[in-house]
């Protein structure tokens, strides 16, 4: 059986505790329209979604996650500020043999509140309280600091956009940064391509290459050809500036020490100042809620390989003995609400707990 009575009992207890703390219970359909939903997720969830065909409603997907439907419901008719909780199954295909379930319970908590650092601290402290007796290892991060650092680089808007886009794919990000910083050579196939593009105007080159087929237009192609030629002329990111970004990516320290470190490099990287201020405000809010920020682990790159929609504070709670996914995880996803709100946006932060893992930990300990 995938969802055990023990897991359901844990889920109900967590769900009740969140309601008692003032969160409003919300539901989300198990069958969700596939189109908009899947377009928003990263490739990982998309590839693992169960998609099915409905004769009247078209392509539908078994709920892979609650966040998007909860945001949609809030944007449609929610009042601010709002605190929501939910409980139910999510469905994700597993691509490897082993014990990981393709159907499991989640209990979640989502806060829509314009006071972002307070809301971050509230969600984290809430989860820490609910999971207090499991002695889990918390880990935090802040993708907003990385995004601010990228924004502040002395380089072309195109290179910044490329780096920003691949923040969630660390290997590719690293390869791009190495190239933009002149640490890695330009690949031979790119040099060949540039030589060919320099040899003639795009219209002639396209005509020689073959008929125009497909949705990607001649204009799209010519535009990128031009962008490639311009990029080839762009100077490398200066070595000291690149070194600061490499340093930031690798930053891992207890939160208070991480703040000290960021304050130390901030004069050299003024673009991160607002994000570091937010970090400091969040740490103060966490302390007021009883979290020991002198020991709370912080990694600047935490959350980069999980959900692509996190763009600020991120956190997770792990059991260090098991190889399981985190018992709980969450983060801030302001950009997602902007996309779903079609012009309107509301700062949002939330997370989920996996009750099956809570039950397993309690069972193993009993």
């Amino acid at each position: 059986m995938t969802v055990t009575p023990q897991a359901r009992a844990e889920a109900e207890a967590l769900f009740a505790a969140l309601r008692d703390s003032g969160a409003v219970a919300v539901e989300a359909d198990i069958l969700q329209p596939a189109g908009t939903l899947l377009d928003l997720y990263g490739e990982d969830i998309r590839a693992r979604a169960y998609i099915t065909q409905d004769p009247l409603r078209g392509e539908m997907v078994l709920r892979p996650d609650f966040t998007v439907p909860v945001v949609q419901a809030h944007m449609a008719d929610g009042a601010e500020p709002a605190r929501y909780t939910y409980m139910g199954e999510v469905f994700r295909k597993q691509d490897h043999l082993g014990p990981r379930a393709s159907e499991y319970l989640q209990v979640g908590y989502e806060v829509f509140d314009r006071d972002a650092p307070e809301a971050d601290a509230e969600v984290f402290a809430q989860f820490a309280r609910l999971l207090a007796d499991l002695s889990l290892r918390p880990l935090t991060g802040d993708i907003g600091i990385l995004l601010a650092a990228i924004e502040g680089l002395t380089t072309t808007p195109r290179r910044k956009a490329a780096l920003r886009r691949h923040v969630w794919r660390p290997r590719r990000f690293r390869a791009l940064l190495d190239r933009f910083a002149g640490r890695a050579p330009i690949p031979a196939d790119r040099l060949d391509l540039l030589a060919r593009l320099r040899a003639g105007d795009p219209e002639r080159l396209m005509a020689e290459a073959g008929p125009q087929i497909g949705l990607r237009s001649a204009e799209d192609i010519a535009e990128r050809a031009q962008a490639l030629l311009e990029d080839a002329e762009a100077p490398a990111i200066a070595a000291p500036e690149a070194a600061l970004l490499y340093d930031l990516i690798g930053l891992a320290a207890p939160s208070d020490a991480a703040l000290q470190h960021l304050r130390g490099i901030q004069p050299l990287m003024p673009a991160i100042l607002p994000a570091v201020d937010r970090f400091e405000t969040r740490l103060a809010a966490l302390r007021r809620r009883g979290v020991d920020t002198a020991s709370l682990p912080f990694e600047a790159s935490h959350g980069r390989s999980t959900l692509e929609y996190y763009d600020g504070f991120v956190f997770s709670f792990h059991d260090e003995q098991s190889g399981d996914p985190p018992v709980a995880s969450g983060g801030r996803y302001d950009a997602l609400t902007a996309i779903l709100g079609q012009g309107r946006s509301i700062p949002a932060v939330g997370g989920i707990i996996r009750p099956a893992l809570v039950a397993a930990l309690k069972g193993g300990r009993a």
Binding site: R190, L193, I213
Partner: protein
């Protein structure tokens, strides 16, 4: 009959498979009418021939309904999760070569490599409002490859045949498909991305790790592998 071996039931793959075994003293032949899917094996005792579609052999191996099977290495990798835990490769057979590649319209003068495809996908999504579509039937292999290489802003769309035509028909912007000579790609005004071969496939003899392997079947396997000159993996 204690050891079942699945082989492709028709065409060149069947003939080449028969040739490969025949050259090693194991004669496979169709029995009954020419189009009847039944066969026999001479030159060794205890082997039963099961004629199957090459596309179904990975599933039959995984289920343990056959002990050995001949099919493309691409099909096994694409159809089976954690394929090398479910089956073992006994021998590449040296025919049925084909590369699984990515191809884009030849008129994309700005795209030669995976890097370019990734950047084109970003611009495409920004301009057209949806992810760049890659038509393929090899979902697992292609997705794993693109994920491994950090490609974003694409989506795979299913195409079970005539995949080279999807770009012209506006149901995809790029394709991932098997090619041996590249002729069909060129005829459809597509070009292969450089340095982006997803998998080099060939017909391969596989062993089902999870089939029932009673002592009689193991004995037949030992005799067969001695005859074929194969080394057996630990099962």
């Amino acid at each position: 009959m204690s050891l079942k071996i699945g082989v492709p039931s028709k065409g060149r793959l069947m003939e080449k498979t028969f040739d490969w075994f025949g050259a090693r003293g194991v004669t496979m032949r169709q029995t009954g009418a020419e189009r009847e899917y039944s066969g026999a094996v001479d030159g060794i005792d205890g082997v039963e021939l099961v004629m199957l579609s090459a596309g179904e052999i990975p599933r039959e191996l995984a289920a343990g309904r056959i002990h050995l099977g001949v099919t493309g290495s691409d099909l096994v990798r694409d159809k089976l999760a954690d394929w090398n835990q479910q089956v073992a490769e006994l021998a590449p057979l040296g025919f049925g070569h084909a590369d699984l590649i990515l191809a884009v319209p030849a008129c994309w003068i700005d795209v030669d490599s995976l890097d370019d495809l990734d950047a084109a996908a970003a611009a495409f999504r920004a301009r057209h409002g949806f992810r760049l579509r890659i038509a393929t039937k090899y979902h697992r292999l292609v997705r794993d490859y693109l994920t491994e290489n950090g490609i974003a802003d694409y989506q795979l769309v299913d195409s079970q045949g005539a995949t080279e035509g999807t770009v012209k028909n506006l149901t995809a912007e790029a394709i991932a498909d098997i090619t041996s000579t590249g002729e069909t790609l060129r005829a459809n005004h597509l070009k292969i991305l450089q340095n982006a071969v997803i998998h080099q496939s060939q017909a391969t003899l596989f062993l089902a790790r999870r089939a029932d392997w009673p002592p009689e079947a193991r004995a037949v396997l030992s005799a067969l592998s001695a005859k074929l000159g194969l080394e057996l993996p630990a099962v």
